[in-house]
Symmetry: C2
Subunit: 412 residues, 2 copies
């Protein structure tokens, strides 16, 4: 008998009919002889409805009270699903975050899980019950209700799986797994049967929005087998797990892209110690996140300094940078918000040379100019003009042998 944690998002429980469908899916898993714990989000739209009530009373609602308010959303869905399960003849019991002691720190609106009391859940599972838990919420050590921030239900599910030592944590979404590239761009993209935590983290940070990053970090930390599946159709999905021998075969797991970035360059900066912090300090002070950073020293002992920010912060960052340029005596500021980042991700590249070279050559063959390069242990990213997005992704997908037919799905 396996212990399975399933998590369903707001769209999956958005109507009475969909809650019925979730109940059927839960019952199917139970019928296969598993113990089942279900973690739920609020009905889609509910969190926004509650937020608008709060905003009507205050521009900056008290964080503690906002959590009391927002946590009602999941409390509604856990009660409804439990009723649906009972109506179909399967004993179920719902728990709020507080009731199963999902202990968090006291950072309201963005709390982090500290501990989960597994005993009560195990007891109910052993009685044959399906346990339905509210995602996204917990309590601090004084018993105050906290929330984990948007998307936090994924994290609740993984933390619950870790605490219960579950065999698998299944996250049901509107896609049927993680793909080698965005299927809307690459027709030949394939669902990956397996992917490592590290790869998934890179994918997520590169804009692939299948899973919340924190939940993947949590899964890696506690070694939870995490599976992404579709709420709406059957299929094995993608298993996110520890690296194993089978994975060595593939150099690259996927080609990710991010079109939310913009590039800024400050030109002719006097090259001296501490200059980077003089440039990036005011950017950070304005709460603007910086992604890639590249610095080259030129012949005349001055340097060009380039970095990328989220596209919505472009105008603000440009303005700040112009002030900085004056104060540090730089020559000029330039920028481009029509760029994209394309990345090849794979744990395989650790042990194989030449990945970057393959990438650069494939792009060059198509006449695509590379504006910036950044590498990590399991990722090579390049910045190119936005117009090359589709061509670049498809070229790399083919170059790394990811097109359909090249991967054997161990789960099928």
């Amino acid at each position: 008998m396996a212990l399975i944690v399933q998590k369903y998002g707001g769209t999956s429980v958005g109507t009475i009919e969909r809650i019925q469908a979730v109940a059927d899916r839960v019952i199917e898993t139970k019928k296969q002889g598993n113990q089942v714990v279900v973690v739920l989000s609020a009905m889609s739209g509910e969190t926004d409805r509650l937020l608008s009530l709060a905003k009507a009373l205050s521009h900056t609602p008290t964080p503690r009270e906002l959590d009391v308010l927002l946590s009602t959303g999941e409390q509604v869905t856990i009660a409804l699903l439990s009723m649906a399960l009972e109506e179909k003849g399967y004993p179920a019991v719902s728990y709020t975050g507080g009731q199963v002691h999902i202990r968090t720190d006291n950072e309201h609106n963005k709390a982090r899980i500290v501990d989960i009391e597994a005993a009560r859940v195990h007891k109910k599972l052993n009685e044959g019950k399906i346990v339905v838990v509210a995602g996204f919420q917990g309590i601090d050590e004084d018993g105050n209700i906290t929330t984990l921030g948007r998307g936090g239900s994924d994290t609740t599910a993984v933390a619950m799986a870790a605490a219960l030592e579950a065999d698998e944590c299944r996250i049901y979404t509107d896609v049927d797994g993680v793909y080698t590239a965005d299927p809307r761009i690459v027709q030949n993209a394939q669902r990956l049967p397996l992917i490592t935590y590290e790869e998934m983290l890179e994918m997520a940070s590169l804009g692939s929005k299948v899973l919340q990053i924190r939940s993947v970090e949590f899964a890696r930390k506690y070694n939870v087998n995490l599976r992404v599946l579709s709420s709406f159709e059957d299929g094995p999905g993608t298993l996110i797990t520890d690296e194993d021998e089978n994975m060595e075969a593939a150099l690259i797991s996927g080609i990710a892209h991010n079109r939310d970035e913009a590039k800024l360059t400050i030109v002719g900066v006097p090259d001296m110690p501490g200059i980077a912090s003089k440039i990036l300090g005011p950017i950070a002070d304005a709460n603007i996140e910086v992604d890639m950073i590249v610095q080259n020293v030129g012949l005349d002992n001055s340097t060009d300094f380039t970095f990328t920010v989220n596209r919505i912060d472009y105008d603000k960052a440009f303005e700040i940078l112009q002030k900085t340029a004056k104060s540090i005596d730089a020559k000029d500021v330039s920028g481009d918000n029509t760029i994209v980042k394309i990345s090849a991700v794979g744990v395989g590249m650790r042990s194989h040379a030449g990945i970057a070279n393959t990438m650069f050559k494939a792009l060059a063959d198509e006449g695509i100019n590379i504006q910036m390069i950044s590498t990590s242990e399991i990722k090579v990213s390049v910045v190119v003009a936005e117009k090359y997005l589709e061509l670049g992704v498809r070229t790399l997908h083919t170059a790394f042998g990811l097109d359909k037919g090249s991967i054997v799905d161990a789960n099928d």
Copy 2:
């Protein structure tokens, strides 16, 4: 410094604007130097909305899960009011029933309060905070969420006042107090400045729907000063409290009426021991509540047995009674669902003879025929034809000296 518990119902917190108005009223009480605890219902309509979601999933939703669902209604309003108070510069903290340990038995959907932990609330009050508590809900000893049933927020407020040893528990409603009679019928009806628990209980059981009966019982048991006031206008309302010397003056506090009753008679019943239970047993088995019961023994050693039920149960009761008549060999069954009950209520009648006589004479003078009579220590009730409702109430209101000008309001 006094400690005041205030309770606002669903209509008073039904919109953002009304929540703002409640916040202003709470702040006013706080500014007068009081400690304030506020107990809230769900926004009007919310409980019905949640119930309809549950009913869409199950005709008989699991009682435990129904409580998890319905209790979110008050959790929303306590968060919103606390935000409104904080926005206006008054520190506030909200608590669900579980968070302040409103311990109940485990009778889901109609739980009874066992105990309240006052320490946490006192601590917050002593820190200068306004404490906002969810009405209608609690937790059982296993930590399951329970609800007290409809109208239970009044009971929460009184129980909270008892546990905190509050100076007064103020129930804000859509009327500005308890009247000597229904002002829609008696133009000269007056707001009572004071009324005893016993009188209020009789009034409530006679159809005066100002307060939930259980909350008055609770207030009497724990000697809580209970005040009914209007949410929408200022005024002293009516104080419900223990009998005191001042009250001796008034024989009768008010004239109540109830038009929700119907009368059934079984005629020519052989008079023998146990006959009453043979008649009423099947009625009780069908979950029909019986109010007044009158039995007369006739000359021929047979008896007529008359009782009243709620008007919506009339047809069902009539049918049952016809079967009973056959089985016990009674002559006939008759009934009337166009009757009303009119009652004179007052602790003063305990020590004064002749109340019933004054009542019967006044009605007789107007040609109103009395069909049934029932008396208690502080109440005389008569059943008359429905067409005499207004005339009967007005006649008694005048006969007992209750018309405007006859009572001095000690609070004004």
